[in-house]
Amino acid sequence: MSSGELPGPAPDERMRPEGRRNTQGIRIDPEAEATHQPRHAVLSALVKHEPGVLAEVSGLFSRRQFNIESLTVGPTTDKNVARMTIVIEEPEPGVEQAKKQLRKLIPTIAVEELKPEAMRRELALVKVRAEKPDDVQSVAEMYNGQAVDASPNAVTVEITGSKQKIDAAVEAFEQFDVEEVVRTGAAALERGAETMDANGYASEE
């Protein structure tokens, strides 16, 4: 029932190009395929402080399959503006796309990727069984942690710092029974006197 063949040279009789692109649409040397390794990127975004913005941003990252490690949001000194810190892990083209897609959202005021040396802090609360409170205390001190709650059976320690420090602290606490952990994800700012406005980070003059 199928119709006949259209005229013209068959596929193997046609002019053929030599090159190739990788999955990101970048022309590559077919011999030596260069793949981009995923890297961590810390994005700082100023957004309008209005309902729905958080859902909009998190929805964007999930539906475009950007690999998100943490997202924090909070008010700024301007009551109309909120600041988000988003840590993603993506190959270079993904980082670029994520920035552009984030900028494209209408409530977005500015988006910047922070430098690797930017200040990054997160906070964790770790609740441990307190059979040996003194031992807990000394581990907490190693990480500049502070006991914020103590009951006959449990102690809760607060730790702030880089992700690596908190990872290490949580691991160290595992020698006791860790009952619960809660972590905030990163809040980050560029070092020095630079500040961010609608035009992004103004470089120091």
Binding site: S2, S3, G4, L6, E18, T23, G25, G59, T108, I109
Partner: protein
């Protein structure tokens, strides 16, 4: 052919007296709903498509005193597609209205469709009163949540004092930069509440800055690349339509003698009658377009997002080409295809910039000859028309011949849509109205209504599939009621043919759920709606039936019974290599 018995010409209604001069004194806003309607009036809206319902009643009540004409559609999906098509042909945002809950969810397909094709549209939805929001109230859905990924921006307009401003901003955003759909959700208490805040004229928010002019340094580099090209090609996309850049693009291509390929949404941006035209590229594109796009050494893409139906597998897409990408949306740069020369800005302006920078045309005589050879080698062809049964390609080709030069074509989705691409000759922008990106069956009937109302002086033809027609045919009632002169052609293969073609090609002919054991007689169905119905079975009758249907002043439906075995070729399988398009099922098997 048969003209079935029970059709009666409706009494022609005398044209309504219209006084163009009459202008209302500026109406004073008294409620949130009035603010919404006056905001639309201020934006220049003169027509809206929708369906009434509880939560949107205050807004409709405000329409009662407005000069905005409201077209009641049979289904909200129809309202969204009609508004979308109105936006495509007129260039201004179409307006769709629906009540909360099911009204809003029925709009969703049409909004997503507009989003994929960057069509300007604003949707107004009713919502339950703010006190009830979040309580699973009657006819409550989270419209803002549901439509968030498919709108450019949406608004929950809970404050009567800012409701008008939300509508103004939504309208401005739908129209600005890269166009697209916006939505304003109007809780019933806010639209009923009193306010005296007058809406402002439409303006985009201060965070919105679409690029206008490309970076001069990149223009210089791009011009040099283009000038040095041996095998240059232009890929003209839907952004050329939306950016009104077709004239500039034509002049540019002709001045520098660069062959032009179009995307599907780009149909009509460059006349297919021009020697430099290679037609449409992609899955069912022409041999010449797909070979040129594969073998070019510089590709100037204008207003295109390099969709996968166009590119096929990205590994084999224009793999030797440096890409110059003119685009208004920065997020489209490097999204699918890496741009060696990203030129952000308005298509018309950036083409002018590039033209100013270029001193010589590329030396591409041999390449142009090669392109011409491909055009000669790979004509779009089909079996001898005299053969029984009727060939769909012949019907499209004859209609194109008989229709006005600037006729608008709308379509459903499937094989018939591809034949409408391939066998109609597009020469003007805004003549192709189709569901390019979302591929929405059912787009055909309502889009014709929006297109006709958006361009009343133009001929409107719809090529629909039997399956697609069945999805939204109830809108025929609207075409009859509004007495719209539209010709619907159903290329009836008694099957959801595109699926059947794929099953034959990729699923060993296992035809699961793709053939209709029984379908209605569409000519009779049309008559029962009050439209004129024609049945077309014979090759010899094609011209005659088309002429009769065109002559009929009102909606006509031609049920064209076509060869059910006909397939669409050339074909690049999904993710395949454009340069290896198959000319037959056998070639497809061997790819």
């Amino acid at each position: 052919m048969s003209e079935r018995a029970f059709h009666q010409d409706p009494e022609p209604e005398p044209p309504a007296e219209e006084d163009e001069e009459a202008t209302d004194d500026a109406r004073e806003v008294t409620t949130g709903a009035e603010a919404a309607i006056i905001a639309l009036e201020e934006a220049g809206v003169d027509m809206a498509f929708g369906v009434q319902g509880g939560a949107i009643m205050p807004v409709y009540d405000a329409l009662y005193d407005s000069d905005i004409e409201h077209i009641t559609m049979a289904h909200e999906q129809g309202a969204a597609h009609a508004a979308d098509a109105y936006g495509i042909v007129s260039g201004d945002p179409g307006v769709a209205m629906a009540t909360s809950g099911p009204g809003a969810t029925n709009l969703v397909t049409g909004i997503a469709d507009a989003s994929m094709d960057s069509d300007p549209m604003i949707a107004l939805t009713g919502q339950v009163a703010t006190d009830f929001v979040g309580n699973d109230a009657f006819q409550e859905v989270d419209t803002v949540g549901i439509t968030q990924p498919i709108t450019k921006q949406n608004y929950f307009a809970g404050d009567p004092d800012t409701l008008g401003a939300d509508v103004s901003e939504a309208f401005a955003l739908a129209d600005a930069g890269r166009q697209g759909p916006t939505l304003v959700d109007l809780p019933k208490d806010a639209s009923k509440a009193e306010t005296d805040v007058q809406p402002i004229s439409p303006a985009t928010p201060d965070t919105y800055h679409p690029p206008e002019k490309a970076d001069e340094a990149v223009i210089e580099a791009a011009a040099e690349a283009l000038q040095d090209a041996d095998q240059p090609a232009i890929l003209s996309g839907g952004g050329v339509v939306k950016g009104e850049a077709s004239d500039e693009l034509r002049a540019f291509a002709r001045k520098y003698e660069i062959p032009v390929i179009t995307t599907m949404p780009g149909l009509g941006t460059f006349p297919e009658t021009d020697d430099l035209s290679l037609g449409m590229a992609g899955m069912h594109g022409t041999g010449a377009a797909n070979l040129a796009i594969t073998n070019c050494d510089v590709l100037l893409g204008v207003g295109t997002r390099f969709d996968d139906r166009l590119t096929g597998g990205v590994d084999s897409f224009a793999p030797d080409a440096e890409v110059i990408h003119i685009e208004i949306d920065p997020a489209e740069i490097n999204k699918n295809i890496y741009a060696d020369y990203p030129l952000l800005g308005d298509a018309e302006r950036v083409l002018e910039q590039l033209d100013d920078e270029l001193t010589d045309a590329p030396d591409a005589e041999t390449w142009r000859e090669q392109c011409q050879t491909w055009k000669d080698e790979y004509p779009l062809d089909y079996e001898t028309p005299e053969d029984e049964p009727l060939k769909p390609q012949y019907v499209v080709e004859r209609f194109a011949e008989l229709a006005d030069d600037d006729a608008i074509v709308t379509t459903g989705v499937g094989q018939h849509q591809m034949w409408a691409c391939q066998f109609w000759t597009y020469t003007e922008p805004r003549t192709w109205v189709s569901s390019n990106g979302l591929g929405t069956m059912g787009y055909g009937v309502p889009s014709a209504i929006g297109a006709k109302l958006g361009a009343p002086d133009r001929e409107v033809v719809t090529f629909d599939g039997d399956g697609s027609f069945l999805m939204t045919m109830q809108e025929l009632s609207v075409a009859v009621r509004e007495d719209l002169d539209i010709t619907y052609v159903i290329l009836n293969n008694e099957a959801i043919g595109m699926v059947r073609q794929w099953q034959d090609g990729f699923y060993e002919g296992r035809r699961m759920a793709s053939e209709y054991p029984w379908i209605p007689e569409f000519d009779l169905l049309a008559e029962s709606f009050g439209a004129r119905g024609f049945r077309l079975e014979e090759h010899d009758e094609v011209d005659d039936v088309i002429k009769k249907a065109r002559e009929y002043d009102g909606p006509a439906v031609i049920d064209a019974i076509i060869d059910p075995g006909e397939n669409v070729y050339p074909m690049v399988p999904s993710g395949g290599d454009n340069g290896l398009f198959a000319l037959s099922e056998e070639q497809l098997d061997n790819l």
